[in-house]
Symmetry: C2
Subunit: 449 residues, 2 copies
């Protein structure tokens, strides 16, 4: 309230229907709402006005006691959440009239909530405004205030991120251990998801469990597991209060990396460790991305896949041929934290995305500060659509040694990702409980259950 | 197309965003779309016009090959799905102009798709029209044609329902086996969900895994499992083509029913078997519901919980005190099949819901026909909000023997549910692979993994 000069309303959002209205996906409240409340209450809203925070909730409906069980009373909710008062959502219009003009808000992603907010506030609130927030408006001021709070995590938030990181690591271990008995990707996926649900965690995003790691957001689980395959698993836990973990590990289905797989795995791991070491107070994240790109090209040159001088190779787009995405992103209540605000959170004022292939997918370009959490996730991918297209490889000519690359045909995609908390000193790895050294990974996979 | 006299457009729908636009729930296409295509394609639509069925799909976008992998070509899709042709969704406006006037449609549950359809067709298409479809309109005619097709299942659909039923049964067995090693509901829930995902199945609805079975739609999993508890599990598999299973079982956490638990369990089981036996060609489903109510009151009278004459007890609302919901519902591509159309599918023309407590929750009142699939799911619940309210129990007075009921305090909720296919002869149980006889249930739970 000190940071903005208008009242503000933050909605939790409505459950999303699946195939018919009463069949709904598991409700997940908007992160800005969760940031203050820690509990997702469908249809609820928080009003910040006249120096007080009021929670408005959907009152008990006829039949609730039968169908969904008794609800906490308004007084119980006020005690639980430490808000100044709790009222029925039916009182919200009157409270808004009392709060004064120019009430700021941010839409939830469900269109019905956006329509409801539009109706309540007497102006159009579009869902997913993202980058389109206009500077100088109350909504933009509210977004900037939330960004300022959520960019660096306090001790309570860090405890949640550690919890989510540890659960994510534990789920990856379960997935590794399930591999030796599995015939398909979906069995490993099932082990991972079952492990998380058994412990009260949701997925912070749709897990990737794929022998086709070169398809970056592959969300099918249909492939058979063959002994020579690498399995890429990119998945994270979402803690009950909403905080996210995000880990990628890659392991050999057989429990043994081939020499070529090991060589590329070790190259990516070296890139990752180098990039993590760069995550220090005051360092611009774009620079961490550049460190990862340079190290990637350097290691691939060491393997003979590139030849020539590093700066020249980088200028000719060598990094994006095999690492076509950003080195990481913000992490918090969203796995891409505050991506609902477009690049407003990820990019410092005055900074914008590069137009260059690869760099254009970088989601974060701020100066790192203690308390910020980011992912570091370099990779190596052989994407047919890239390798066969002169638009991406043409400038490299023969300096991309396709004869050498051909020896690495048993690697489709490798990515190694951890969650990193920036501190005053060395970065803290929030997801260290799942090993990544090749011999340790092999031992876990071979150990099975 | 023979059943309606206008062109028709069926949309698959758009993925539902979770906490930000790119973080989406697993996409599930609208069932009417899946009925024809068997595969959910986000943003796609089927146009029936001039005697042909055309599939319109979102064309490959820049970056797809990198992020989501190569897509099938339009020709490959046409071959796979047996449609007359496949075109880009960008061609749909022109195709609609060519199709003629009065194009019928049914909205998907996501508001953006409803807005898109409104824009395409030049009229307001509201999401979740349900009961509000106006008779005599093209949309109502389309709904009625779909209901006529989907009410009774052909052999291909029956094969899918058997698949979903078997997977649901298998998941219940996994949940029973996981109980002996579990300390909380969520561990059993995790075992159930992991089992389904490992085999390529989704949940047909949010699973209920609860020691508080008296809360009918309890979707939390936080309670500890205590040796004296009954655990109620109501969950179902959704097959890859979208077809649903739906099973409820109840088992003792310890692997041993107490005498009182066993007595009530056997009463509910007897009611269920009686109701299943009533599911024969030509029987009105409302009558099956009445059979279950009468048998419930009779069995509870046998136990001494009620006293007096059956008809009188039923007239005074005795059944709904302990069985406050309908005995079952339609089953198909939706677990409550075609509930997107409100009661238009579940209730035969001219029939409407009862206003009476309990009966008002009955979702189905049609005459059963071979090929119809329904659930049969009677129960017994001690719901404090019902038992403490004279509005529900007042007319029963002392004929509700609270002194006898008090002996059954270790039963909060029991429900036993199977999926039943109506045939020309005896009903076929689609979910028979998971036992329900108390001794068999006990043996599975005690056997553990």
């Amino acid at each position: 309230m000190a940071a903005i000069h208008t009242p503000a309303l933050l909605a939790a959002g409505q459950p999303r229907p699946r195939n018919y209205p009463a069949n709904q996906y598991a409700f997940r409240a908007k992160s800005h709402f969760l940031y203050f409340l820690g509990e997702g209450l469908p249809g609820a809203a928080l009003l910040f006005a006249r120096g007080t925070m009021t929670l408005f909730v959907v009152p008990e409906q006829p039949g609730d006691a039968l169908w969904t069980g008794p609800r906490p009373t308004l007084t119980e909710l006020a005690t639980r959440h430490g808000v100044d008062s709790v009222r029925s959502i039916e009182d919200l219009p009157a409270a808004l009239a009392d709060a004064g003009a120019n009430v700021a808000t941010l839409p939830t992603e469900d269109a019905p909530s956006a329509a409801w907010l539009s109706d309540l506030l007497g102006r159009t609130v579009a869902p997913s405004t993202g980058n389109r927030l206009e500077d100088g408006t109350p909504d933009a001021a509210l977004a900037d205030a939330l960004i300022a709070m959520r960019l660096t995590h306090d001790q309570a938030a860090i405890a949640q991120l550690r919890l989510a990181g540890a659960a994510s690591a534990s789920a990856h271990l379960a997935a590794m251990r399930a591999t030796s008995g599995a015939k398909t990707e979906m069995e490993v996926f099932g082990a991972l998801v079952g492990h998380l649900r058994s412990r009260g965690f949701q997925d912070s995003f749709a897990p990737i469990v794929s022998t086709h790691g070169e398809i970056l957001h592959n969300e099918t689980y249909e492939h058979a597991l063959n002994p020579g395959d690498l399995l890429l698993c990119d998945a994270g836990a979402e803690a009950p209060e909403g905080w996210a973990g995000d880990i990628t590990r890659v392991w050999p289905v057989s429990g043994h990396f081939s020499d070529t797989q090991r060589a590329l795995y070790e190259a990516v791991l070296d890139v990752q460790l180098t990039a993590i070491a760069a995550c220090r107070k005051g360092v611009r994240y774009r620079q961490v991305h550049e460190v990862a790109k340079r190290r990637t090209v350097e290691r691939l040159r060491d393997l003979g896949i590139f030849r020539g001088e590093l700066d020249g190779l980088l200028e000719r787009g060598a990094a994006a041929v095999f690492l076509p995405h950003g080195v990481g992103h913000l992490l918090g209540l969203d796995v891409h934290d505050m991506e609902d605000l477009g690049d407003r959170a990820g990019y410092a004022p005055g900074r914008t995305r590069s137009a260059a292939f690869g760099d254009c997918y970088l989601r974060l370009d701020r100066d790192l500060q203690p308390g910020m959490a980011v992912t570091i996730e370099p990779g190596f991918y052989q994407v047919p659509a890239i390798l066969s297209d002169d638009a991406y490889t043409g400038k490299l000519g023969g300096d991309l040694r396709r004869d050498v690359l051909a020896k690495y045909a048993d690697v489709r995609g490798i990515r190694i990702e951890d969650d990193v908390l920036v501190t005053e000193g060395d970065p803290e790895i929030l997801t260290k409980d799942v090993p990544k050294a090749p011999s340790e990974v092999e031992a876990i996979v071979r150990g099975g259950h």
